[in-house]
């Protein structure tokens, strides 16, 4: 059940990534896509009636699978890092072009391409 929700969220994220022009919305959509794949991973470890995978003294109930939760820890930190840096880059672009509209930024860059392109190192 959670797996289906995860796939639907993934789809909504990709729709937002493709159809919305605002760069910040695109980054939010990327965050949603990442969250959806993380939800899918966690949902795999679920068993009916399970509780947290910590061994308490004297308790022998059904326990959820700990591996997807460990994987997801790393995935969350990595996705946070990517979003933070993408946000910094969007900030730099916005300071330069004064708009968050991705199509307008591409048009501005195409217009500037006719001018001298500074050679790199």
């Amino acid at each position: 059940m959670a797996a289906i929700i995860a796939f639907v969220l993934f789809g909504i994220g990709v729709v937002a990534l493709v159809l919305r022009r605002d760069l910040v919305i695109k980054l939010l959509a990327l965050g949603l896509i990442n969250a959806a794949s993380i939800l899918f991973l966690v949902s795999i470890g679920d068993r009916p009636g399970a509780r947290a995978p910590i061994q308490l003294p004297g308790d022998l109930g059904i326990v959820a699978d700990p591996l997807p939760q460990a994987l997801v820890l790393s995935a969350i930190v990595v996705n946070f890092a990517i979003l933070a840096l993408a946000l910094v880059f969007v900030m730099i672009l916005v300071e330069r072009y004064h708009t968050t509209d991705s199509i307008r930024i591409e048009q501005e860059m195409a217009r500037e391409a006719d001018d001298q392109e500074t050679p790199c190192l």
């Binding site: 797996a3 795999i44 460990a70 994987l71 820890l73 910094v88």
Partner: protein, 234 residues
């Protein structure tokens, strides 16, 4: 129909087909969670940590956690590199009313206390280094909101924080490489395992949790401070 309408329908159609294909194939292939029993079987005795998740990501899959810490460090350094060079806006030092300041003076030490608890007890109860670091950084964030970012930067020297980050990373790498000196493969356990459920169990999981908590704390604060500095206010 206009071209835009057509484009939207085309895009939504492809994405819906993608989601549908994956969803239906996955559900129809009847995933059987009982297959994945390995990690439950002997995790507690082998790692000595009664929190099985901590046992996995700080013992069996320690390399993954090391990479994750490196990713985090790169992110912090990257944010600092880019925002350091831009001209920040110079706004006056804003701080909040006395009610907020008094409340924060009570809440922030509580946050730091929670951070210590989660870091030190990460192998026995839910928590762990990452959550602890984020909690502590949030506590500092409250103080920064209440007293103004300029006051915070006067108290916490950014240069010393940067140095502390590098030192923590070096200590972590040294700890991870230490078994190599003793002739064993790096990333294996050095400290004794102990009985699960006690504080001094789980080998070096305790040390890793504390190191990671400090690293995430300093790093998250550096990111917040960089953004706030660039903008001129919080």
């Amino acid at each position: 129909m206009t071209r835009d309408r057509l484009r939207i329908i085309f895009a939504v159609g492809i994405i819906a087909a993608f989601v549908g294909l994956i969803g239906i194939t996955y559900i129809c292939s009847s995933p059987d969670p009982a297959d994945s029993e390995r990690y439950l079987a002997r995790a507690v005795e082998e790692t000595g940590a009664s929190n099985r998740v901590a046992g996995i990501y700080l013992n069996y899959r320690l390399l993954d956690t090391l990479l994750e810490v490196l990713v985090f460090s790169v992110a912090v350094l990257g944010v600092r590199h880019y925002l350091q060079q831009s001209e920040g806006m110079k706004l006056p030092n804003l701080s909040e009313s006395e009610v907020v300041q008094t409340a924060v003076n009570f809440l922030a030490p509580l946050a730091l206390l929670l951070c210590t608890f989660f870091a030190v007890f990460g192998h026995i109860s839910p928590g762990g280094g990452f959550a602890a670091g984020v909690i502590a950084a949030s506590g500092l964030l409250y103080v920064a909101i209440a007293h103004g970012i300029q006051a915070m930067n006067a108290q916490l020297n950014p240069v010393r924080l940067a140095l502390m980050e590098k030192v923590i990373l070096l200590v972590l790498l040294a700890f991870v490489l230490a078994p190599a000196v003793a002739g064993r493969i790096p990333l294996t356990e050095l400290l004794p395992t102990g009985t699960p459920g006690k504080l001094l169990s789980g080998g070096s999981i305790l040390v890793y949790n504390i190191l990671i908590a400090m690293k995430v704390f300093v790093g998250a604060w550096a990111v917040i401070a960089a953004f706030a500095q660039h903008r001129g206010e919080l």
